[in-house]
């Protein structure tokens, strides 16, 4: 374990850990730090993960994040969006999406703020979140943990949480799993009897109280909350020298 890891690097490792045990499935990260996380997982403990350059190229070996389109790469496969949807619907995928809002049962919103009919702020739209969450494991990455993101009720349910999956019936719930929520403060999961969000670990230097104050609903907090796994020396070398030599991670999570 290394003591000089930055917060961004702790977050990279926490994101990578979300894919531990997934084996030979498509790992789809949205955002810089989750992308570094997938490539780190593939280079260390999860070598069979399948991952792309962010477009239609399946990479045979990790490419630095932010590499220009003309940069050389090892191509092992082709994955245009049409094939991507085939994979989503087959279940062989674990995506880590962003969340403008998320609630205690993992309902996520990326569509709009305010009433959908006449939003105060139109965002992306639901994108693939409704289909992702009923077809295969989904995790979320929140670079700025706050009560604006972790809310009692989301404005437009894009990705569905455990309560709504159960209410929608077995076709909605049979492949539903919200694996992790990784933020700049902590790692959260839903490993509780009623699938309410639980504090899984806090990042170094972050108190349990700080996470609670930054969350807009009561979290399930175990008696002993461990610290998030610190990056190993090997992790740091891979992140700094190979996967993100230009430090793009620091733009998403400043030190």
């Amino acid at each position: 374990m290394s003591s000089d890891a930055t917060l961004a690097e702790v977050c990279v490792v926490a994101c990578a850990e979300a894919w531990r045990g997934d084996g030979e499935i498509l790992a789809s990260p949205i955002g810089t730090i989750p992308t570094i996380g997938v490539r780190l997982a593939a280079l260390t403990f999860e070598p069979d993960l399948v991952y792309t350059d962010g477009d239609a190229i399946v990479l045979g070996a990790p490419l630095p994040v932010g590499a220009p389109p003309e940069a050389a790469r090892i191509v092992e496969g082709w994955l245009p969006f049409g094939h991507m949807f085939d994979i989503v619907w087959s279940g062989k995928r674990h995506v880590m999406m962003g969340a403008t809002q998320i609630d205690r049962f993992g309902n996520q919103n990326i569509a709009c703020i305010g009433p959908w009919a006449r939003p105060k702020a139109q965002l992306l739209g639901v994108r693939g979140a409704p289909g992702n969450t009923v077809n295969h494991p989904t995790s979320y990455w929140v670079p700025q943990h706050s009560t604006r993101v972790f809310v009692e009720q989301v404005d437009c349910v894009s990705g569905i949480g455990y309560d709504r999956a159960a209410a929608a019936g077995p076709t909605a719930s049979e492949f539903h799993e919200i694996r992790r929520v990784v933020s700049n403060l902590a790692v959260l999961d839903f490993e509780t009897p009623d699938h309410a969000m639980r504090l899984r670990s806090v990042h170094p230097g972050v108190s349990v109280d700080k996470v609670g104050e930054s969350t807009g609903f009561p979290l399930v907090v175990p008696d002993d909350v461990p610290e998030t796994r610190a990056p190993t020396d090997d992790d740091l070398t891979l992140i700094r020298d190979l996967i993100d030599p230009n430090g793009l991670r620091n733009a998403e999570v400043p030190s």
Binding site: P69, F85, I160
Partner: protein, 282 residues
Amino acid sequence: MADKRLTEADVVAELRDGMTIGIGGWGSRRKPMSIVREILRSSLRDLTIVSYGGPDVGMLCASGQARKVVYGFVSLDSIPLEPHFRAARQNGTIEAMELDEGMLQWGLKAAAMRVSFLPCRAGLGSAIMEINPDLRTVTSPYDGQVLVAMPALPLDVALIHANRADARGNGQYLGPDYYFDDLFCRAAKRPFMSCEQVVDTDDFMKLGTEQTLKISRMLTDGVVEAPHGAHFTHCVPDYQRDEAVQREYAASAKDADAWAAFRAKYVDIPESDYRRLIGATE
């Protein structure tokens, strides 16, 4: 043997007020922008636009010609939120049908198959079922599985942009993703394709493999040779996205004057002037 070559103006002359128009590409990638600009220069109105949306949707919102938009997302990719689309949604100037990305594909597929719906899992439990109150579920007659019955999204017209095409209407993609352009064409009564360059049929295999020939002439009613026709969206490998012009476009959502200035500079001019303006060689 049919020669299907047309101009952008010929294509737009085939369009009517109130039509449902599907637009290929994805986000700010390989959009048939020269035809979209031609629509902006026309008096067409009350259009329903079906798209994995980018500046095609944004411009038709800004011009007031889109009455309704059917989308899974609208984004400029490097600028995640499409500002003209946002303004239209926030000001309530368009009707919206928001879908999961896969549901949109399924709706086009159903139209292409000439069936009224296709079942899918996506949508169950999400806001999609509430914000689209006409959506229904269907129960499988085999095992009782309950699925969303995604209705067909038939198109009056599809507009796509390819890297190369021949005069008969075969289209070729040279970039890494053909998106859903073939599906948009199959779902449409009148599909039209613009392309960077019209080539001899015999040239296709010099440019790429058989797998790049994704659009059959059975799928196209017309071909427009439009060099830089996807600009400012990207059309790889012919050109990358013009981020500077895209930023200028995004900034033009600030107010009516800014949009009017953008429009005067980039839209209300002949395409030959447009190409000179962006520094493309003729």
